[in-house]
Amino acid sequence: MAEQGVKDTPEQAQFRQQARAWLAENTPGEPPVRMPLTPLEIMTEDQLHYLQAWQKAAYDAGLIGCDYPVEVGGGGRANCQRIANEEMMAAGTPFLPNVIGLGMAAPTVFYHGQEELKRRLLPRLFSGEDIWCQGFSEPGAGSDLANVQTFAERKGDKWVINGHKVWTSLAHFAEWMILLLRTDKSVKHDGLSYFVVPIRPALGKGVTVRPLIKMTGETGFNEVIFEDLEVEDSYRLDELGKGWQVAMTTLLHERGAGDLVTPRSGGMQTRSAHITSARTLVALSRQTWRNGAPACEDPIIRDRMMQQVIREEGMAANQRRSRVTALQDHPMRLALQNKLLMSEIAQDTAAIAMEIEGAAASLYLADDAAPAGGQWPMSYMNSFGFTIAAGTSEVQRNILGERVLGMAKSK
């Protein structure tokens, strides 16, 4: 319920003031079309264009890419992205649609790409004009990322790509893809290389994007099939065979544990995403009847709701503590817990909501009588996306045990 930053440097303080002033003037009101709950669930062009326009405006105002050098389209500032994020969250702005570009592609291109490539790609990434997607997962790879089979065969100065990627959110809107490929079948980790690939122009010419349907019935992510797609060697990041190391940069930033803070907006999203917070559980329990009384009077429901309130507050307090050096023993210990906590708390919250709803949890979106519009059973199902994608909870626990507690690798 509380989240606050450490004391601002003079540069940060000034920047914060500017940001706040601009946001006071320019934060959009209610969107003209219904917005999805997360950037990964953008389904229509209308939604996309509205959010792209917002990202462009925020970029032009200097709120995105603040800490990157000016030469690659950044703001050239020091530690200001966090300030921008805080102000955007507080202002209740829409979220930034190019979420994979900003969180994963940008730092990877920045640390591993050639100078020319950075200067060309990053400005349009920051502005949201080019949407990015990510091609890591494969039907046969799962949590074992190094098992990537999609193959790139050398052909002069080009590579010919064949294979099958899955869970590629935003691929149907994307201009560019970050792509982990196998360039050598004789070794596992060292046989991987990392590319950026312009997929939009290749649609129907070597690239097929097919929507996958989630267990909720929604679409929102895709499979991408490569058939003899030719890509220039200049789109390779870092050296041949170093794909695994480059991918680690991507994943580190995805987990919020990288050097570069990901631009994050989304106060508006946070407002609507409150649907899945413990506070909303309490509201739900007031409106729901259970054994002849409001569910909020049931001691067991109360206990479960308070558990969730405590876990959420604990997560916020973790973030606050992670900025107080004297209260930490290991630099990554709190940061690496974030994804695990967030996803499991959300899952349990949704499960408790269904318990509160009781028999009415059977009702889905199209039913007028569904409590909260049928969102909770949908949230519960979607929560498994969070505990599976981007490193399952099982993998997260491995990482924590191995990197923080120094235990032997489980694989």
Binding site: G142, N147, I213, M215, G292, M354, A361, M381, F384, I388
Partner: protein
């Protein structure tokens, strides 16, 4: 009356269970189910009633709908342990049909005394029935019914009616002059409107049913006691359904993790996968044993039926929740997709888990029996 050592689960019961499993495994795979009910993934889709009426007719012809009808009314009068075995298998196949509803109605009618005999004879003659006993909050104690009966005419709306789109008759609990009473009527009676709910579960249909002066036969004037007498059997059967579905979830997930390779090992090598699935198995076994335990009590030691049925339901509900969650998680990304059959059973289990009181509710009732009413 003493309980038989083997739950009274004899040869006839074993034969029925075995033949049901065979029938479903031959004619109704999870793939068949998916093709039947999962054609339209749209989360905003309108409610639909999709089932295989031909296969269902075979089951009717086999006499499954009249297993719980007493012999005196032309039925089989099979002990509940045997019926539970059948329902476990139907749950394992998640076969969409009004078997559970019709069996449930039979138990209530049998508990209704002489007034129920004619309706039981209808079932023995091939009728199927749905229960209209819940109000808008999902309560079904009788006293809180949202339907009222005046003479032989019904008024009001009943909620959370299972299989309403698949049955020929309705068994309704309605408040009458002398308190809640039970009524019996064909579903196509004038003044009956079946409004399908848009539900998450694809393997069932659910409706709220409005009565506007619909004519019905009064079956019994003390619905509360008939319901409280029959509910242990009904809870036990819904628990059996969850146990069957849980076995499908376990078996399917184990097959997947034994075959799927990660880090050069089958997924099942990893204790983070293996141990939760062992826990699923342990929970299924507990629930299964308690189902037959409860069924045997209903058959042979009726004064303990309620307590054992609460145990079975509480155990099965917790298991259904956990087995569902792990079935998706351990399938990883593929388990999260519509094309993977796992979601069918996930949704069915979450539906059943909440239907007749969740685990906490059943434990609270059990506590009343064991703490407050005991010495």
């Amino acid at each position: 009356m003493a309980q038989p050592d083997d739950f009274g689960f004899g040869e006839e019961a074993a034969l029925l269970k075995e033949s049901a499993r065979k029938l479903f495994s031959e004619h109704f795979s999870a793939g068949t189910l998916h093709a039947l009910v999962a054609g339209d993934p749209d989360p905003n889709r309108a409610p639909q009633v999709q089932w295989d009426m031909e296969l269902w007719q075979q089951m009717v012809d086999l006499g499954w709908t009249l297993l719980a009808v007493p012999e005196a009314q032309g039925g089989v009068g099979m002990p509940l342990v045997g019926v539970a075995g059948l329902v476990e298998e139907a749950g394992r196949a998640a076969f969409p049909c009004p078997l559970l509803s019709t069996l449930s109605a039979s138990y209530i009618l049998a508990a209704a005394g002489a007034g129920g005999e004619a309706a039981l004879a209808d079932i023995a003659g091939g009728a199927t029935a749905a229960l209209v006993i819940s109000n808008e909050h999902g309560s079904w104690t009788g006293a809180e019914t949202s339907v009222s009966g005046e003479g032989d005419s019904l008024q009001g709306t009943g909620y959370f009616v299972q299989d309403a789109g698949k049955v020929s008759h309705l068994l309704v609990c309605a408040s009458a002059e002398s308190g809640p009473a039970l009524y019996w009527l064909p579903v196509d009676t004038d003044g009956v409107t079946v409004a399908q709910d848009a539900i998450v579960d694809l393997t069932r249909d659910q409706a709220h049913i409005s009565f506007d002066g619909a004519a019905a036969r009064r079956v019994c004037t003390d619905a509360a006691s008939a319901l409280s007498e029959a509910m242990p059997a009904i809870w036990t059967l819904y628990a059996a359904d969850m146990v069957g579905a849980g076995e499908w979830q376990l078996q399917t997930t184990v097959e997947y993790v034994n075959q799927r390779q990660q880090f050069d090992k089958p997924l099942g090598f990893f204790q983070a996968v293996k141990h939760p699935l062992v826990n699923v198995m342990v929970m299924i076994d507990q629930a299964k044993s308690l189902v037959y335990n409860a069924a045997c009590a209903v058959d042979c030691e009726v004064e303990k039926a309620a307590r054992y049925a609460h145990m079975a339901q509480a155990s099965a509900s917790d298991m259904a929740a956990f087995a569902s969650s792990r079935s998706v998680q351990m399938h990883g990304g593929i388990g999260f997709t519509w094309e993977c059959y796992v979601h069918l059973f996930f949704k069915r289990q979450k539906h059943t888990e909440m239907l007749w009181g969740d685990a906490v509710w059943h434990r609270a009732r059990l506590a009343e029996l064991l703490i407050d009413n005991a010495a």
